[in-house]
């Protein structure tokens, strides 16, 4: 083997090792984060956490019951807002390709890249400013707008995956366009679309920034759409920024809960996709 060849092989090996190192480097923070979240948070996740309200400033104890419910309400509003808009938009993009659809697709991609805090400003201007009041609705709208691009893209892609024969078959039987889409094509793509919605929900459930000046936060129990509402993320943020150790502990607990929620949602989505693929293959 010539010296040149030996050198080239050495270089090759070095770079291969470096790439492996890159994987390790990325996995270290992941491991650390999961470790700390579990270590600091899991222990504090007791019944009180789920059922009690936050205690006044400085007092130990209490829980995040209102924040948990608040998050659920917020993602509920977001879904109510984003699912119809996103799905119908996705249906249009899949059924009617053309210049308009390309423009819309482009807009959805742009929307996907807009920082969540900017969306928060928009929701502020749209929902908070006119009534001069922070509200759960404003927070839900902000989260909904974050969800829309994901739902649009998933819906469109999955509808396009439905075999053309199905579509033609329905139309040939005399079904109207809307009938064929809603009764034949969408059901065929439904599992995938639901998965996409789950994924989008997982993403917005962890959002904090856009809520800071739309839904704000609420120390009390509230389920009203027109009042500020507590949320897991903002509560964790507030507690983390405080000087109280007990609140820090609760912040970790909240973080643990968030991570569990999101993990569950994304594992569920992944399993659904796998089952979907298996179904389609058979």
């Amino acid at each position: 083997m010539t010296a040149n060849l030996r050198r080239r092989k050495l270089v090759s090996h070095i770079f291969e090792v470096l790439c492996g190192l890159a994987v390790v480097v990325a996995l270290i923070p992941l491991a650390m984060i999961l470790f700390y979240v579990i270590k600091e948070g899991a222990g504090s996740l007791n019944l009180d956490f789920f059922t009690h309200m936050p205690k006044p400033v400085g007092e130990a104890g209490g829980g995040m019951a209102n924040a948990i419910v608040g998050t659920l309400i917020l993602i509920g509003i977001a879904a109510a807002f984003a699912v119809p808009i996103g799905c119908l938009c996705g249906i249009h993009l899949a059924e009617y390709p053309g210049k308009f659809s390309s423009a819309v697709r482009f807009a959805a991609d742009v929307l996907n890249g807009v920082p969540s805090i900017v969306i928060g400003i928009f929701a502020y201007g749209l929902v908070v400013l006119p009534v001069k009041r922070f509200s759960a609705l404003a927070g839900g709208v902000a989260l909904g707008m974050l969800m829309i691009p994901i739902v649009v893209r998933t819906t469109e892609e999955l509808l396009l995956l439905v075999p053309g024969g199905l579509r033609e078959g329905a139309l040939a039987l005399g079904a109207t366009r809307s009938r064929s889409v809603f009764s034949v094509i969408v059901p065929a793509a439904l599992p995938g679309i639901l998965t996409g919605i789950l994924v989008a929900l997982a993403r917005v459930a962890g959002e904090t920034a856009p809520l800071l000046f739309t839904a704000l936060n609420n120390a009390y129990w509230s389920t009203s759409l027109s009042q500020p509402i507590a949320s897991l993320t903002v509560q964790v943020y507030t507690y983390a920024n405080s000087p109280y150790d007990d609140w820090h502990r609760q912040a970790w607990a909240g973080a643990f809960l968030l991570v569990m929620m999101i993990l569950t949602l994304s594992i569920a989505a992944r399993l659904a996709v796998r089952r979907l693929e298996r179904m389609n293959r058979s």
Binding site: H92, A200, T233, A251
Partner: protein, 306 residues
Amino acid sequence: MKRSSDDRRFRLGTGAFAALVLLIVVGIAIELTRQSTLSIAKFGLKFWTTSTWDPVSGMFGALPFIWGTLYSSVLALLVAAPVALGIAIFISELSPRLLKQPLAYLTELLAAIPSIVYGLWGMFVLVPLVRKFEIAMGAKPALGVGMLAGALILAVMVIPFTSSVAREILKNVPSTQREAAYALGATRWEAIKVAIGFGKSGIIGAVMLGFGRALGETIAVTMVIGNAPQVTASLFKPQYTMAAVIANEFSEAADELYLHALIEIGLLLFIITIVVNILSRLLIWSMKRRVAAPAVTQLLAEEVPV
């Protein structure tokens, strides 16, 4: 005919919702501009070049925030891009078949962790570590919070996403390219370089997409960067980003000018991230054209960890 009118209604109906999505994007641009007129009128272009940010006296200059955002994002990408590329190469070219899926899934897991959790970890774990480092380097005062912590946490957050896009790009490089290199007597790394060369524009696009993400990241950054508006190249000094200042001061903004100044910053953030995103998608699209790969929409399905 009844049928065609139904079809027309269907088309218009769904089209309306599609138009709504378009309107949202346009609406953001309009609303942001509308809500920053006071600040634009008062400060004009000096807004972007002055450093005073004094809500009390009503003087607003956004330079420190622009600096903080760009500096932190560039530093983050300097760390994240090679690591993300290394991961992408490892998973797609080097790893044994059994490891591929689990590794891919683990990197996606990193992407799914919410910003606030990163922030919490950053605040309570990373910052103390950085502080120890700063003390060892002789920095005074050693705060821990600062540009270094901010850039590091951004890097970690951006790596998984950049790496998945890069991996998709590499997957789309035809295997015949690598085969041609091997047949000419290339080593493994040389063949990988050929693949990277083929996917060059796509990979740059992936890095740019990561950059766009870093620009807009808010919560994790504000929890570790120190939130002090100053223009300095020092890694140890606390600094401030555009997204962070909006997050922290928006609900406190007492008067309209203050609010408008913050929204103007939001407008700039909006414009910058759109431009970066468009450029990166163009790059990825131009690479896809060379390959004519079918399911390239997957390339752009950034958010979907499935």
